[in-house]
């Protein structure tokens, strides 16, 4: 394939600088450089003020003991030690990883499976809209819906009753809520990633599929040798998006347990984001901003490390077609 040559040319924009051209480059280059500051400056400024400075401030706060106002006491890395020694933080961290990997794996397996099915399906546009729909719904709705469906007198138990189930499982018991949350996450997010991956798949020229058909490839072989390699960059981006968003999962946990936000969700369901929030804003005790920011910084570090690793693991020469 000519892909690699194409790519190489793109990365090394030959011809190289001619000796006579000097440092100024072509006039277009010079124009570009002149516009760099007015165009990039404001965005950079906003980004610095809104993201970089608060992040640095958060690092600073995490090294202090602070109730959010009033005096700050510098305590070094004590907050980090405290957070890591807290079994509840480790539990929350574990839950975050479960969401990231288990839910993530489920989402992408389902998304690819659906992609295979949907490509050949009649009325695939409608089907696509239908599976995307849950993603549009606010997490709060699912929290309230969970009550309607799974309460002791709720829909599921009412449906089970005529079937002779008199002792239905305690659906919303504290230990069952997290699996329910995971299932809900799969339900709401699969459609979203299916849509993105489908867009990538739609880009694949039909003659590859014709080729497959002529060669007698199965659906799985088609996935393995055509779809996956040709959508690898899309998939990589989706994986990064999911990593970032899964580490921040908060609302769904907040509304699922603890009565849709009226109380705190049971600790069995906490993610790092919930842990952080409760530590600073539970409203039930003196806020510990230091420990809360320490926990937030840890999740930021987690995202950073994972994204870098993911980018490395997913790095392939992009195939152009």
């Amino acid at each position: 394939m000519s892909a690699s040559t194409l790519k190489r040319t793109r990365r090394n924009p030959a011809p190289a600088l001619k000796p006579g051209q000097g440092r100024g480059g072509s006039s277009i280059e010079r124009q570009r450089r002149k516009l760099l500051v007015p165009f990039v400056g404001p965005a950079f400024l906003f980004y610095t003020v809104l993201f970089i400075v608060p992040t640095i401030a958060a690092v600073w706060i995490s090294l202090n003991e602070w109730a959010g106002s009033g005096p700050m006491t510098f305590v070094g890395i004590k907050n980090y030690i405290k957070v890591f020694q807290d079994p509840l933080f480790l539990k929350s961290f574990g839950n975050t990883l479960l969401l990231l990997f288990v839910v993530g794996a489920a989402i992408f397996i389902l998304a690819f499976a659906m992609t295979l099915v949907l490509r050949d399906m009649a009325a695939k546009k409608i089907a696509r809209n239908v599976i995307f729909f849950p993603h549009l719904i606010n997490a709060l709705v699912f929290g309230i819906l969970a009550g309607f469906i799974f309460n002791p007198g709720g829909m599921v138990n009412s449906l089970l009753k005529p079937l002779g189930v008199t002792e239905p499982p305690a659906w919303l018991a504290q230990d069952n809520i997290f699996p329910l949350i995971m299932a809900t996450m799969v339900l709401t997010t699969t459609g979203y990633f299916t849509t993105i991956i489908m867009a990538g798949v739609d880009r694949i020229p039909p003659y590859f599929y014709e080729d497959c058909a002529l060669a007698g490839a199965t659906a799985f072989q088609r996935l393995r040798y055509v779809i996956l390699p040709l959508t690898w960059d899309v998939f990589g981006t989706c994986a990064v998006l999911w990593t970032i968003s899964s580490v921040k999962i908060f609302e769904i946990i907040w509304v699922f347990g603890g009565s849709s936000g009226a109380g705190l969700p049971p600790t069995q369901t906490w993610s790092v984001a919930v842990y952080t929030y409760v530590t600073a804003f539970s409203g039930m005790s003196t806020p510990a901003y230091g420990a809360a920011t320490a926990s937030a910084i840890i999740s930021l570090a987690l995202v950073t490390v994972l994204v870098v690793l993911l980018r490395r693991a997913m790095r392939r020469d992009a195939i152009e077609f």
């Binding site: 640095i56 959010g68 009033g70 005790s285």
Partner: protein, 435 residues
């Protein structure tokens, strides 16, 4: 909730950033005196449309008319006490804010950011000094006082708790409530024998589940008993037989099958709804229950309550939490704010609290809705009062240590002995981590 919380988080981070940049935290002038015709900014815990909001709005209108001052109200809702924490690091601070004593303590009191309300307490209302109008036992509660011993809060209403029932269905309980825990258990047995579900409980709200243990301990050992074992860094407080006995009363409820089916696997307000529609006889909950369940209660439901059973040898007591005003030290117009805080204690406004908003007013002579009569009688007659969760505010202790463990006890996953030993080790670990 979620967008709001995100805004709050963003605000907190931004506030942190501005602190780091300009190092403007702490201090703050407040010497702008009271001038007639001044404006105060008020961040309210109520949202437009709530009964209390209507009462406050009309009181504020009267205040503006009578004093010529202007009140710039922001009806923010309960997140106001969360929003003020980051705001305290900026110059955008309200002159006055209201909330529960617990929330205000967290936001202002415990960090020394609240102005003493001395002027408000010295204000004459209806011909009497405000300090004389507020029952002395309320002022005795240390949680609303600063290090200087001056109260930083002026309450305008109270919340309390009781064991609620339908007086139409159980008229005997109005005249003859259980006098002791044993009486209470025999009442539950009687109800069970009659084929009724004795108690409804929304087990997913840890705060409600905790009423049972905290009330048992405080009633048997006196106000402050729970706070004492929490703040005992050695954890030895949990070894006391009285603590185990209190935990056993909770276990008794579980073992006796007195609690409504599915209380351990439902979402609030499913079970209080079940109670209000006759699914169970009793509900241990706050003074807000008549207004909160009023919209869905069975027709003819007559709200009544009796206090948590007393323990012989202990003074009469009632749980009382305050809702009221506090003024940040950074307020620009504290004098008018103090006036406003005192103004809510006029008889007219207190009557409106009791009869329109249907909450417990602070003044003993204020009118009250019949649903809350028993609660008020209990508070009026109490020799001592104690705060919700016995006033524990140690950072994260309730949310991360006590409530999850107490949930296990109340939901029947561990017994009283396991609860006590778990709490002991949690308490030791907690204080060790606090350093």
């Amino acid at each position: 909730m979620s967008t709001k919380s995100r805004i709050v988080r963003t605000l907190a981070v931004l506030a942190g950033a501005s602190m780091a940049l300009t190092a403007c935290g702490g201090g703050g002038g407040n010497d702008a005196g009271a001038k007639d015709g001044g404006t105060v900014t008020y961040w309210s815990m109520w949202k437009v449309g709530e009964a209390q909001q209507k009462v406050l709005a009309s009181a504020i209108a009267d205040f503006e008319k009578e004093t010529g001052n202007k009140v710039d109200v922001q009806w923010q809702g309960r997140t106001n006490t969360k929003k003020i924490i980051p705001a305290l690091n900026t110059n955008n601070v309200p002159d006055i804010i209201d909330g529960s004593n617990a929330n205000l303590d967290i936001a202002l009191g415990s960090t020394g950011q609240a102005l003493p309300m001395t002027d408000a307490y010295n204000t004459e209302i209806d011909g009497k000094k405000l300090s004389e109008l507020i029952p002395a036992k309320f002022a005795a509660v240390s949680n609303i006082k600063g290090k200087d011993g001056q109260p930083w809060m002026v309450p305008y209403s109270l919340t309390s708790d009781g064991i609620w029932f339908d007086a139409e269905k159980n008229p005997d309980l109005v005249t003859n409530p259980p006098a002791s825990w044993d009486d209470f258990i025999s009442l539950l047995d009687k109800e069970k024998a009659a084929g009724q579900t004795p108690i409804a409980a929304d087990g997913d709200i840890s705060g409600y589940s905790a009423y049972w243990f905290v009330s048992a301990l405080v009633h048997s050992e006196g106000p402050g008993a729970f706070n004492k074992i929490v703040t005992d860094k050695t954890g030895a407080g949990w070894d006391s037989p009285a603590v185990l006995a209190a935990a056993k009363t909770v276990q008794q409820l579980v073992d006796g099958n007195y609690l409504i089916d599915g209380y351990n696997a439902s979402k609030w307000p499913a079970q209080q709804q079940a109670w209000a529609t006759g699914g169970a006889d009793l509900l241990f909950n706050g003074s807000w229950i008549p207004t909160e369940t009023g919209t869905y209660a069975s027709p003819g439901f007559k709200y009544a309550s009796f206090p948590y059973p007393a323990v012989a040898g202990q003074p009469s007591m009632a749980r009382t939490d305050f809702t009221g005003f506090a003024i940040p030290k950074k307020a620009k117009n504290p004098a008018i704010a103090q006036e406003l805080a005192a103004f809510l204690l006029t008889k007219k406004n207190q009557d409106a609290m009791g009869t329109v908003a249907k909450v417990l007013p602070v003044r003993a002579d204020a009118a009250i809705s019949p649903e809350l009569a028993a609660l008020k009688k209990n508070i009026d007659g109490a020799e001592e009062i104690y705060l919700g969760n016995d006033g524990v505010t140690a950072p994260g202790y309730l949310e991360k240590n006590f409530n999850p463990t107490d949930d296990q006890l109340f939901l029947g996953k561990i017994d009283a002995g396991e609860f006590v030993s778990k709490m002991k080790s949690e308490t030791i670990a907690y204080w060790k981590a606090q350093g």
